[in-house]
Amino acid sequence: MKLTIPEKEILNPGHLACQGCGAALAMRYALKALGRKTIIVLPACCWTVIDGPFPYSSAGVPLFHTAFETAASCGAGVNAALEVKGKNEVTVLSWAGDGGTMDIGIQALSGAAERGDNLIYVCYDNEAYMNTGIQRSSSTPHGSWTSTTPVKAFKKGPKKNMIEIMAAHKIPYSVSASISHPEDFIAKLQIAKQLKGVKFMQILSPCPAGWKYPSNLTVKIAKLAIETCIFPLYEVKQGRYKVKKPANKKPVSEYLKLQGRFRHLTGEEIDEIQKNTDQVWKELLKKEKVFG
């Protein structure tokens, strides 16, 4: 049988992720796609813990732990050093959570994108600050409970649309991905590796601890996010849109009902989420039509 995903494991066993952690899967696939000639720059996030305590490391490639808001700027420095030393075959992978990317780290990321630093920047999106105990981030979706948006004052307003923000920087590649679609993710990483500049990838990485669901449902939930179009799978490559359309689009309620963080939502509130999701989906398809 021909395998579509590289068989070789680079991420070592013994990492410290929670059972069913989407972020661990995301890294596992990323390393399979990028190979050993990769250097990871890692800011504060769950992965700081997942990699393992001193003197251990599960990543299997060189990894530099950096401050929360510096995944992009520190990565730019590593890349500058590789350029000076003529090590063109090495990929710099800045790997950060949604908080480290869309909130505190957005300035450095925007700067790197504008300068055209040669990085693959992966934001593993678990839609909250998990490392510090499930606080809302600007990637937390409308309707969600977090420890700073309690049920009575759940998160209002949409997720920050980081793919569009990055695409607006005119970077060569700004894409979404999901741990439920590893082949798609790996293919995108392989494209990213060929392009110069900042390549931005946002991979949906469900978190059983923060989303409040049993740990065996991670892949299923990630898949439903794509099938309901609440987290559309698409790419903006050199300004051109390509959207993955689900064979049969499912209602968002199927996605929401599996997760404790949405348990408090009323039927009306779920209808509203459905309406917003449909609207965004429609806009995205339109963009593909015009800029495809």
């Binding site: 050993r36 000639k37 990769t38 250097i39 720059v41 700081t48 813990v49 990699d51 393992g52 305590p53 001193f54 251990y56 490391s57 990543a59 299997g60 490639v61 060189p62 990894l63 530099f64 732990h65 950096t66 401050a67 808001e69 510096t70 992009a72 700027s73 520190c74 990565g75 730019a76 420095g77 590593v78 890349n79 500058a80 050093a81 590789l82 350029e83 000076v84 030393k85 090495v90 300035q107 450095a108 925007s110 700067g111 504008e114 300068r115 630093d117």
Partner: protein, 384 residues
Amino acid sequence: MKKFITGNHAVSFGAKISRAEVIAAYPITPQTEIVEKLSEMVASGELKAKFAKVESEHSALAACIGASAAGCRSFTATSSQGLALMHEMLHWASGARLPIVMANVNRAMAPPWNVWSDQTDSLAQRDTGWIQFYCESNQEIVDTIIQAYRISEKVNLPAMVVLDAFILSHTSEPVDVPEQKKVDRFLPSYDPKYKLDIDQPHAFGGLVNPEWYYEFRYKIACSMEEARGLINEVGKEFGKQFGRNYGLVEKYRSNDADVILVVSGSLSSTAKEAVDRVRKKGRKAGLVRIRAFRPFPKEEIRKLAKKAGVIGVLDRNISFGNEGIFFSEIKSALYSQKRKPLVYGFVVGLGGRDVRCKDIEKMIDSLYKKQGLKKDINWIGLKK
């Protein structure tokens, strides 16, 4: 080669002849010229380096940290608010044991806005694990940058080379810029044993529990102690090769002095003149200039205090709620000594207020008379 250059350009030439490989910096007055000159040097190919034009000081130091971790000699420069914005990354650089060299142009902190000289910016970074040098002249700036790399790369700690806003940064002086070949001999290229290397994958700076963190800090403290000896050693070796000697402190007419001034930075030149003038009047005043503030030259201060009965410390800085920072440090170095001289603190020249020779003469005078002096802070030249 003799050049007539500003302190800022002395920094740029220092970085150039030290063969900095990655430079990342963000403009701020009065540091800007450093970056501009370096951009020119890199653009013209005169300096083979990569210049990362980052979007903030925080990112500048983060980029230097990444580059240094990947095995390149890195350089940055900043001032005041920029240095304050970097604060988190200052700890990161020393904690990660990266020998980055940075020039900081001492400038007052806002508000109110003030671009002139004041040491509070760099002294507020005292406990970040950076070696700190305070320079008196443009010549010393070039020389110190070269030495800073030698020392830093030996002890794996970053170093800050500090110069006064405008007094040095924008004032031209004749400077002997050492020949590249000679500098190359003095400062070999940077090749760290541990770096981000795909052939030897390691994780750097990961989580360390209480079982080990303490030892990591102890090692930084040990390296700072090692730097103490090294600063004198490297300064002497520099003297042999380039004709200009340096150490932790510079003593000026202090051997037989009964009253000693302790100063730092460019203020030292004015204070030396004041010492000369009062000597003419028959007073045995002397001076010690603190060149390395971290590690702190405890022993040197203690030795001096054995002879002098009175010490006056000039601080172009203030730790609110306490006193001048050098003043505190000097007293604490003397506390364990049997014979303790009288120590008085003068806060002077904040935000670029001129400190004139005759002001310092007056201070020396008051130290002799011990009249009208307060035990903690003496504010000099305050408007009513």
